[in-house]
Symmetry: C3
Subunit: 113 residues, 3 copies
């Protein structure tokens, strides 16, 4: 049995959990022009969605962080470092890529379910 938490459309979920493994994605609800702010928002969305699945950030195994402007990576790092559980630091990759509309950051997450 796979547990799924609803996404923005009926064709996608925000979180899926099965037998000890969970996957999740998150973006910022408000498309502000600051990567720091969007990352903070996306991490808060992630926290909320993990909580709805009975999980929390200490359970995260890895995060792939896609950002649209690699020159601004320090802003993402700042939001990350403020947010992260230092006793349970995830594996992380930061990749520069195109995202939809005014998204500046998207998080793709694997967690222990």
């Amino acid at each position: 049995m796979i547990k799924r938490l609803g996404g923005t459309t009926p064709t996608r979920s925000n979180v899926a959990v099965h037998n000890g493994i969970a996957t999740a994605v998150a973006t910022a609800p408000v498309k502000s022009p600051s990567l720091y702010d969007q990352t903070k928002q996306a991490l808060a969305v992630l926290d909320d969605n993990l909580a709805k699945a009975g999980l929390d950030k200490s359970r995260i195994l890895s995060v792939t962080v896609y950002i649209t402007n690699m020159d601004q990576k320090p802003e993402m790092n700042r939001a990350w470092d403020e947010w992260v559980d230092r006793n349970n630091a995830p594996v992380r990759a930061c990749i520069g890529a195109a995202l939809e509309g005014n998204d500046l950051v998207e998080l793709v997450v694997i967690a222990a379910g």
Copy 2:
């Protein structure tokens, strides 16, 4: 024991399954100029490969969809929405990136094995 299904070369697999978790990748066999068509093909390849591993799309936890032209994302969405199991919608991220040759889309998948 990890079950692996052969890929296009001896140095890669299309699907790997182990102890309740499966990973897969898929691209379109025919490199047509339409993102809608390539996405449809890639999703069909994914269905085939999951079937060979004894799985199906209802078991998918997450899909990262890489496309070469974010402006054409609605075409990918159209193929996705036609294909998806709405009772078992995967977590999904769509990322704009460079792909090889005339590939317009590549799917990277995590499923419950």
Copy 3:
């Protein structure tokens, strides 16, 4: 209990292992101008980190390889083909994207823990 192996900073890990699943990332320690060389280095780092977690490359399910210049993909392939365990070939995707500083390649890995 999630086992984590230290990363380059206190806010990230290089490997995380939980209940049969492991995630890892790797880049080249020396930012040489050759994609072949950086890939070789990154794969060696991956081997080391898997070994510290009690794993090895035969346990890898999938690798997403991010490279900054898709035109040089054959160089990455050469390093991959020399390195890969042909009896246990991972699922692999190769994605062109921006990376930090002089990184030419980054590996994002899922393995059976």
